[in-house]
Symmetry: C2
Subunit: 196 residues, 2 copies
């Protein structure tokens, strides 16, 4: 039996969008554990106060072209957002508090599409609420749990765990202590989980 | 008919080793143009005086583990070198001056193996010479051309061209103005060259 794969994602991360769209179909039998975390504190500890794609614009230009090609290959919508990176804190709190619900995948993909296909401001509670409403869920109670002090603190703990596992970017995949970084490594990570 | 793919590589770059080992077999019909260049000036312009894998050790640790997994998958030898990054200037000058020789692929792979499979000091002219000797070539005349002022200056021009094409890392592949970065993108670049 395959070991579970922990899927580490950050809502501001473009390549996490691609992995979030692909993981459930590809996993087929490998249990997926959804692990939202924040890249901000990790980047900050490396001396970056912005996305490396903004700090190094040559790399940023390439990333958007690469995303365009990959989205076309995967049949995904992509619209370069007018603001980048967007703050995914609220969405990450929702995802963390409800990571074991059967709607978690659909919620995560909904937030990514809002950001990277519809150019909507995902830091706005109205936008997060509308993603939940599209899934016939009640935003009021869900956001209340997400915004509780316990859950806020749990997201900090989760990000600390990511650092301990050696994460430095998103998406990442871990199977026990084995780390795979990048949408490119999704297939390899799943293969590892199956063989493990 | 497929358009040629320009293969941009740096002898200090670990992932360039993987691409150099794979490109000729995978290209099958796509002409490969060998384009040695130097990452040093490009990294320097981003404020880095060392490999980013040394500046960001968490990323560096991951890179070596990732290389280990990929080398195993491709059936390539890998031995983490005792010095990293090694200065590939001389080898790059040889490769540039002789990029159109039929032995260019074998020479490039020989230097990469010296560095990343045999832990030899590729900045040492003796090591570069021994790679040439293994190919039954005459190091004396080859190094003389490589070290000519014309060729030294041509390597600077080539690196300037890499910058104009938007390169920021190695390996990279260009088909006209279309840029692909990373060993991961080799297959996609060749597909683009075939479709173009």
């Amino acid at each position: 039996m395959a070991r579970p794969v922990e899927f580490w994602f950050e809502f501001a991360s473009t390549y996490s969008y691609l992995a979030a769209e692909r993981i459930e179909q590809l996993a087929a039998g490998v249990p997926v554990l959804w692990r939202p975390f924040l890249l901000g504190p990790i980047f900050h500890s490396q001396g970056w106060n912005d996305s490396p794609f903004n700090i190094y614009p040559v790399k940023g230009n390439y990333m958007w072209r690469d995303m365009e090609r990959l989205a076309a290959e995967y049949g995904l919508q992509l619209k370069r957002p007018t603001a980048f990176p967007r703050n995914g804190l609220l969405a990450a709190r929702v995802a963390l508090a409800h990571a074991e619900q059967d709607w978690i995948g659909a919620f995560v993909r909904g937030v990514y599409r809002a950001n990277f296909a519809e150019d909507r401001e995902i830091s706005d509670p109205q936008v997060v609420s509308s993603v939940l409403q599209d899934l016939k869920l009640d935003p009021g109670s869900i956001l209340a749990v997400a915004n509780s002090e316990t859950n806020k603190s749990a997201l900090k703990t989760q990000t600390q765990r990511a650092i301990k596992l050696g994460l430095f970017g998103a998406p990442s995949f871990t199977i026990g202590g084995e780390l795979f970084w990048g949408n490119d490594r999704l297939e390899q990570a799943l293969q590892f989980a199956r063989a493990a």
